[in-house]
Structures are given as structure tokens and as C-alpha cells.
């Protein structure tokens, strides 16, 4: 990057807000998809919207591609840098600007760590519903980029149902203030459209979110199964019967073993083939009525044992195992490929079996931990990226899993986004006309297509596809 551009950025951000030496830049070479790496030319770390806007104006004038980044926990390569490009990192923008208890909203900077908002809101009897497994690290801004979910989104919906307003720094450094919450959008729903745009429309710097009241009664139950089918069929039946628990999560045997051998040990029975974590919340009557019927289903479907959390501590422990599952996989192999696909909830059993079969055919070790209530599977393949043959087989298996799921009426991603990982597979889901339409919308936001170029849309007509260089695998 030209020295003059760096100096202009330094003038805006100061030394603390600029990284340009290769050693420190290496920390930004990839996000959670470590298979794809590219060193950025510079990392800018603004502290305020105004700093971000000024830095973006400098990058715009210099024609530098920009990739936004929260905490880098994304799993689809959405924050993988572009060669010669800048990373605009939001890690220093982590203030809670305010919590409006009466209106049940919070205004936060985009770099705020997800769980910190719920911690802050708890004393007001409120919480922030989207809860990705990485919520102790990921940022609200990153969640907006990917329209992230989490176990409790089964009932409460993904991020796009909780964002009420945004301040967006656009491609040229101008600031678009859409932060006034509206009962209904005034004009086109720009806020709704922005959520899930994977950093290709702008950089969200401040966010107004909806907070939910903490429910008076929460019941968490662990149902233990001697086979994975029983757990899957339980979920399909619970959904078909119209029950509305808050979360329905399944962990298979391999995941249970890894969790129980790790610091996230939750007391899951090691001889189980699968466990189903069920959570219901609401009024006492609502929870009681719903849970009794759900437990009748799981028993009928072969649950060997049903454990109810008897205290907040026990509940937290059960969830710690689920949320720590990805981390625990490090005990199986040094690297983890976390697939993220959604299947019709009537086909859970057959598609879980199908993904397992694909991994076995490639000689790979696959474990399952997933948001069963939403049909959002996470087939996890443990591997060692130092072995090129394993990497090849992992990628091939990932492609086959996506193909299997799409053929069965599923989708490519439920919460991780398309990024680089699933870009090529977009043609399995959308025809060229639909992808061209996405391109057109993107061009309205970013006419030069410098924001997160080369991601999500595999349309050859798009300038990004002509100009972008795929990072090295």
C-alpha cells in the first residue's frame, strides 16, 4: 500500500488504530474458516463512526478494497482479506451507547461482543436474543453481516428480527443514519435489507437492537438417546405437533465424547448415541403445558433418560457443553470444518444420515451438533490442514453435503453466511437472473464494488468476479 495512503490513515486513526507491519497483519489473514488465507495490506481500527467514515473516505479515494471484520469468528470466509485490500476492524468500537429500558432497545457500537449486551441488559430484566455459539467472542456488527442465529433463534428468530436501526458508513465514507427505530419502515426497508449482506453494502458502526424480557420460568431438559434417529424423529414430531420450545439442540456421540473430555464437560452421558437439549420458557402454565407434551414425545421416540436442570447452575452447565462443543472438537483433530446447512425439518433423520455417509466415504471423521428445531445442521469434519490430501477430501465432502441438502429442498446456509466457502454453490440455489438481481442491488449500495469483493455472488458479469483473486487455500 502506498505510503501516502498509510499516512492519511494514520492521521485519521492514530498509531493505535492502524496496523501495517507484516507480523501483526498475520493475525488478520483469515477468519474462522482457516482454510482460506490472505494477508491484508493494512488493518484500520476506528474508535468512532466519524473515524470510520474518514478512513473509508481515504480508502475510497485510493481505490482500496475494504473487508469489514468484527471478531473474525465467521465460518464462511466472509472476513477473509482481499489481496492489496484493507480490513476495517470494529474491535475498538465496543461501547454500549445506551439501554432504553422503557422501550426495550439498546444502542451499541458494532464491535460490542454479543454476550456483553445480554450481561448489561440482565439487571433490567432484559436480554438480547440472538446467541451464536461464539457469542462470547463474536460482535453484534459481525452478527449483522451474517444475519447470525443461535440456539434460541428457533423461537426468537435470527438477527434480522432484532435490528431496529443502523448507522452505516458507506463505500465513499458518507454516513447513512438509519438509527431511528420505526414501527414500520419509512420507504424501502434498508435496515432489513442490510442485515445479512455480508459486508458488501457498507460498514455498520452503530446498531439499535430490540431487547426481550427475561421470561419468568425457564425449563431446560436433556433427553438421552441410544440412537441419533430417535433424537431426530423426536424433533420432527415436536415441530409437526405445533409445539414452540425456545431451543431444540442435538449433539451426537462423537461430540458428546469431545465435550465430556474438555473443560466444557456438562455431564452428558458418555454411553449415549445422542442427546437432545430442550428448553422452554414463558409463564409457568405455558412452560408446564408445553414441556409435558414434548417429554411424552421424546419418551415415545426412545429416550432412555430425561434430566431436568434443577437450578440455574445446572442449566448453565448443560448449555456450556452445547456452546463449547466446537471448541471441544480440538481434542479430535487440530482443525475443524463446520458445515452449516438447513434442511426441511421433516427430513432431519435422512439428511443427518446422508451427511455422515458422505464423510465416511471420504474417510473423514464427522460429528454432529446442530440446531435441530430450525433444521439447521452443522456437520463438523475434524481434520489436519497440514495434510493437503485431507484438505482436498474435506472440501469435496463439504461440496457433496451442500449438494445433497439442496437436492432435498434445503439451503446452503442457515447462519454462517455464504462468504467464500459457498460462493460457487450459489448457482445450485439461484439462477443467473436472481444472482444478477443481487448484483444490481449491491451496485446501488456500492457502485465500485470495493466492499468485500469476490464474496457471495458467483456471477461472472460482476466486476468483482473479473477482478478478484481467490485467496490461497
Amino acid at each position: 500500500m502506498e505510503a501516502a495512503v498509510l499516512e492519511q490513515l494514520r492521521a485519521v486513526l492514530g498509531d493505535a488504530g492502524l496496523i501495517s507491519d507484516p507480523t501483526r497483519l498475520s493475525a488478520y489473514e483469515c477468519d474462522g474458516l482457516a482454510l482460506l488465507q490472505q494477508r491484508p495490506a493494512v488493518v484500520v481500527l476506528p474508535r468512532t463512526t466519524e473515524q470510520c467514515a474518514r478512513a473509508m473516505a481515504v480508502l475510497h479515494k485510493a481505490g482500496v478494497p475494504v473487508v469489514g471484520r468484527g471478531a473474525g469468528t465467521g465460518l464462511s470466509g466472509g472476513a477473509t482479506p482481499v489481496q492489496g485490500g484493507a480490513i476495517v476492524g470494529l474491535a475498538r468500537m465496543r461501547d454500549i451507547v445506551g439501554i432504553d429500558v422503557e422501550n426495550r432497545t439498546a444502542r451499541v457500537q458494532a464491535g460490542l461482543v454479543n454476550v456483553d449486551l445480554s450481561f448489561a441488559a440482565e439487571k433490567h430484566g432484559l436480554f438480547y436474543a440472538p446467541d451464536p455459539s461464539s457469542q462470547h467472542a463474536c460482535t453484534i456488527g459481525g452478527n449483522i453481516g451474517e444475519n447470525s442465529g443461535g440456539p434460541h433463534c428457533f423461537k426468537y428468530g435470527s438477527t434480522n428480527r432484532h435490528v431496529l436501526g443502523l448507522v452505516i458508513v458507506r463505500h465513499d465514507g458518507s454516513v447513512l443514519d438509519l438509527s431511528q427505530p420505526r414501527v414500520d419502515p419509512l420507504g424501502y426497508d434498508l435496515v432489513g435489507l442490510f442485515v445479512g449482506s455480508e459486508g458488501m453494502f457498507g460498514i455498520a458502526t452503530e446498531i439499535v437492537v430490540r431487547l426481550m424480557p427475561i421470561q419468568p420460568v425457564v425449563e431446560t431438559v436433556l433427553a438421552v438417546f441410544k440412537d441419533l434417529d430417535g433424537a431426530c424423529d423426536s424433533v420432527s414430531e415436536v415441530i409437526a405437533a405445533g409445539h414452540e420450545p425456545v431451543a431444540l439442540e442435538i449433539l451426537d456421540r462423537l461430540t458428546i465424547e469431545a465435550v465430556e473430555a474438555s473443560i466444557f464437560a456438562a455431564g452428558y452421558p458418555k454411553d449415549a448415541e445422542a442427546v437432545l437439549l430442550i428448553e422452554c420458557e414463558g409463564s409457568e402454565s405455558e412452560v408446564s403445558a408445553s414441556l409435558d407434551e414434548i417429554l411424552a414425545v421424546v419418551r415415545r421416540r426412545g429416550a432412555m433418560e430425561v434430566r431436568r436442570a434443577r437450578s440455574a447452575y445446572e442449566r448453565k452447565k448443560l448449555w456450556a457443553g452445547r456452546k463449547g462443543a466446537f471448541g471441544a472438537m480440538g481434542r479430535i483433530a487440530p482443525d475443524l470444518y463446520v458445515a452449516d446447512v438447513v434442511v426441511p425439518r421433516t427430513k432431519l433423520r435422512e439428511l443427518v444420515l446422508g451427511t455422515t455417509r458422505i464423510a465416511h466415504e471420504h474417510g473423514l471423521k464427522l460429528s454432529n451438533v446442530f440446531h435441530a428445531g430450525d433444521g439447521n445442521l452443522h456437520p463438523n469434519i475434524s481434520y489436519d490442514r497440514r495434510d493437503p490430501d485431507q484438505v482436498r477430501r474435506v472440501l469435496a465432502a463439504g461440496d457433496e453435503i451442500m449438494e445433497l441438502v439442496v437436492k432435498a429442498g434445503g439451503s446452503l446456509t442457515g447462519e454462517h453466511g455464504v462468504g467464500l466457502e459457498k460462493q460457487a454453490a450459489m448457482t445450485q440455489v439461484f439462477d443467473e437472473a436472481s444472482l444478477r438481481t443481487m448484483c444490481a442491488v449491491r451496485e446501488a449500495w456500492d457502485p465500485e464494488q470495493r466492499l468485500n469483493p469476490g464474496k457471495l455472488i458467483p456471477v461472472h458479469a460482476c466486476r468483482e468476479m473479473r477482478g478478484a483473486q481467490r485467496p490461497h487455500a
Binding site: 419502515p185 424501502y188 434498508l190 414463558g282 409463564s283 409457568e284 405455558e286 455464504v418 436472481s434 444490481a440
Partner: protein, 426 residues
């Protein structure tokens, strides 16, 4: 092209029997209206419009055309009313994909057969289509429980101005594949595309329901009742305050609180609520459902016989907004026809059917000023064109308007969809 030539060109695509005559607004003259039978015909009609530089106004059954301003120019209308029927219905998965011209009434009946209940629960369901409801961003009376309509649209098929058929989203309850263009199309009032197919999330049909009604209370007491109810751990479908009395102000408000769900849960919630306020009237089961439907249809100022104002505010300031607007109504000796949803921060004001247009415009401007001061906005619905001279029905000062114009230009570069109807002249 003359009207006769346009009708002839439309007939070549959809057949003579499917070239109708419709008004682009209730107070404008009728124009040719094509009723295509499938998405290919929709595409062909829009390609015709692109080729011959014709301006098109899409509609379902036209029940919300009066929510918008008059179009600058329209050559023909395009109704989706023949696009009916389910494309896929998966009761066990809680999803349905349906053609956009299906009426809400037919769609509600269809999903009920699968053990579900349709949201949004909008007024006059036999007279509006799911496509029209989504295109207008019309949420239902059940919004308190289920949220706004755009939260339940899983994906769409849409035809752009040049006839391109596109898709966004899918048919699954969770999906982040690609940009959520359906969020852009929802509420765009037919200025960006014609919606031809819509996938929706469904919710379980309730086992039981009840409606608590308190009549004859003043606003303060009505609000107190509503707050007391809302503070209980119950999942309300709606809490609505309504006033249909003429001034002077009196004990003219009624409070309606609706609960439904699992029988045991509703019974417990009902018992808890009954301890807080004794209802003047209590409706249960089928009676409650029928009453709720009637209440929805008679309280919502549907139809074009009278104009209405849909006013929003920051939730905590909504009661103050109501007080201020009541004063403004009383000062003008205007009847009180009000529906207030305090926890959605929305007030609907029905205006007199023969209101002088100049007086209507003056009052709407005043009310918009009050709404803006309370952190909200105001939408003028079904006002005669004479009242809309210099009055944007949606409000002209909108953040992001330039970007909206750019989005419109990108998606409809030929300017096929009639302009001038939506926010800021979009």
C-alpha cells in the same frame, strides 16, 4: 399507444377475457387491467411494457391502492388475482409457498386445514391478496404476538420491470443464502417488482382463545388496564384500545385483550388476568374468534369510504401522542374514531367520510408534526387526491431516500412501474 391498442396487446398475452378494467386509485378513472394466469404471462406483460415504454401499476385486488399517492402516469394495471393456489404446503415443517394472488381468506382456510394459523391477521381478508399484503407491508392485528409481516416471509418469486423472473430466500424457516431481497420488496408497494409467489412461516393453530373486553372507561383507565394486562406473563395476540365516540371526551374507550394458544396455558393466563381486571364482557372459544374477526374488520377503517391516519410513535411516548392528538381532534370537533395498539405504538384515526380535503390535509400535517415530535411517523390512507396536493401520504423527509432512488433505478431501469406513488415520489 391508444387504450384500445393497449387492450389488444394485453389480450394477446392473457386472452381477451382476462383484460379487465380497474381504477389505479378509488378517485381516478378506470384503465385496462391485465390478469395474467401464470408467471410467464406476468413476464410477457412486463416485457411488452418495456418494449413499448408503457407504465404499469401492479396490484392484487387493489384494496390498498389508496394508501399511495396518485401515479404520475399509468398505461395499464396488472392484477395477480388469477395467480392462486399453493405451490408447496408442508404442514409438518410449518411452511407454505403460495401464489401471490391468493386471498388472505382462502390462504387462511388452506393453512387451517394443515393445523396452522395464518399471520398476518389483516382486516377484510376476502378482499385482499397475500401478494398485496406483503407488497404493502401490512402487518396484522396479531402483530403483538407474531411480529410484523416481513418477519414471516421466507422467500419470494418476483418479476422485475423488464420481465426478469427472480427469486430471493427460500421455503425454509431459517436461511441466510444470498441477500434478503424479499425484505426490500416487502412494503415497496409495487414500485420494484410484481410478487408472484410468496413463502411463509406458519404458526400452530390455537387450541383455545379468549377475549377480555372492558367498556366505558376513560383513556387513563384504559391504559392502566392495558399495562396491567401486559405486565402479566401472558402471550397476548393483541391488546387494543378503541374509541368510537363523538366529543366531548368521556368514558368512551374500550379495551380488548386477546389470548390464544394451548388450552391449559390460556386457562392459566385467563385466570391471572381475571384477577387484575374484571371484564365487562368475556368471549371464549369460537365466539371469541368470531368476535375478534368482526372487531378487526370494523375497527380498521378498511375500504375507501373514509380516509384514515396511521400514526406511530416511540413506544414510551405513544400515550402522550394519543393525548395530544385527541386534543387536536376535539379542538376541531372531529369525531373520535380511534384504534390504539399501545405496545406496538400505533394509533389509527378514522376521519369523517365527507371531510373537506383542505381540512383533512391541514389536520394530517398537524398530526404528522405531533407524531414526528414523539419519534414516530404518519401515513395518510385513502385520502382524496384533492387532499394530497403538497402532502406526501408517507412523509417526504426520509433517511436514505437517495439510496432508495438508486435501488429503484437499478431494479427498474426502464421505469416500467408507475412512479410518484411511494415515499418521496418513488
Amino acid at each position: 399507444m391508444s387504450t384500445t391498442q393497449i387492450e389488444s396487446a394485453l389480450a394477446q398475452i392473457v386472452g381477451r377475457a382476462n383484460v379487465l378494467s380497474r381504477r389505479p386509485r378509488f378517485d381516478l378513472a378506470a384503465l385496462p387491467c391485465a390478469a395474467p394466469g401464470d408467471v410467464d404471462e406476468v413476464s410477457a406483460l412486463l416485457k411488452l411494457a418495456t418494449r413499448d415504454k408503457l407504465r404499469v401499476l401492479p396490484l392484487g385486488l387493489g384494496s390498498k391502492l389508496g394508501w399511495c399517492n396518485a401515479p404520475e402516469r399509468v398505461d395499464f394495471l396488472l392484477t395477480t388475482q388469477r395467480l392462486v393456489g399453493a405451490v408447496s404446503h408442508e404442514p409438518a415443517d410449518g411452511t407454505i409457498a403460495v401464489r401471490a394472488g391468493e386471498t388472505i381468506a382462502d390462504l387462511a382456510a388452506r393453512v387451517e386445514r394443515g393445523g396452522h394459523r395464518l399471520t398476518p391477521d389483516v382486516p377484510a381478508p376476502a378482499h385482499c391478496t397475500i401478494g398485496g399484503v406483503v407488497a404493502a407491508g401490512q402487518s396484522g392485528f396479531d402483530r403483538l404476538r407474531f411480529g410484523p409481516v416481513q418477519h414471516h416471509v421466507l422467500g419470494v418469486e418476483a418479476v422485475l420491470g423488464d420481465g426478469t423472473v427472480t427469486r430471493s430466500g427460500g421455503r425454509l424457516v431459517k436461511n441466510v443464502t444470498g441477500f434478503d431481497l424479499h425484505r426490500l420488496y416487502a412494503g415497496s408497494h409495487g414500485t420494484l417488482c410484481v410478487l408472484t409467489e410468496i413463502a411463509l412461516r406458519l404458526f400452530p393453530a390455537p387450541e383455545h382463545e379468549v377475549m377480555f373486553i372492558a367498556h366505558g372507561v376513560d383513556l387513563a383507565r384504559a391504559l392502566d388496564r392495558a399495562r396491567t394486562a401486559f405486565a402479566l406473563p401472558a402471550r397476548y395476540v393483541s391488546i387494543v384500545l378503541a374509541s368510537h365516540e363523538s366529543p366531548p371526551a368521556g368514558e368512551s374507550w374500550a379495551v380488548f385483550a386477546r389470548l390464544f394458544g394451548k388450552r391449559a396455558a390460556v386457562a392459566a393466563e385467563q385466570a391471572a388476568l381475571a384477577q387484575c381486571w374484571k371484564p365487562s364482557t368475556l368471549k371464549e372459544g369460537r365466539t371469541a374468534a368470531e368476535f375478534a374477526a368482526k372487531f378487526r374488520d370494523t375497527t380498521s377503517f378498511v375500504g375507501t369510504e373514509r380516509a384514515s391516519l396511521s400514526v406511530t410513535a416511540e413506544p414510551s411516548r405513544a400515550p402522550a401522542l394519543v393525548v395530544e392528538l385527541l386534543r387536536a381532534l376535539d379542538e376541531r370537533s372531529l369525531e373520535r374514531r380511534l384504534m390504539f395498539q399501545p405496545f406496538e405504538a400505533r394509533l389509527d384515526i378514522g376521519l369523517p367520510s365527507a371531510m373537506d380535503p383542505a381540512q383533512l390535509a391541514e389536520f394530517a400535517r398537524l398530526a404528522r408534526g405531533i407524531a414526528t415530535r414523539h419519534g414516530g411517523a404518519l401515513h395518510v390512507r385513502n385520502a382524496p387526491l384533492a387532499a394530497l396536493s403538497g402532502l406526501d401520504p408517507f412523509g417526504g423527509d426520509v433517511a436514505g431516500l437517495e439510496l432508495m432512488r438508486e435501488l429503484r433505478t437499478k431494479l427498474d431501469p426502464g421505469g416500467v412501474f408507475a412512479r410518484g406513488r411511494f415515499v418521496g415520489g418513488l
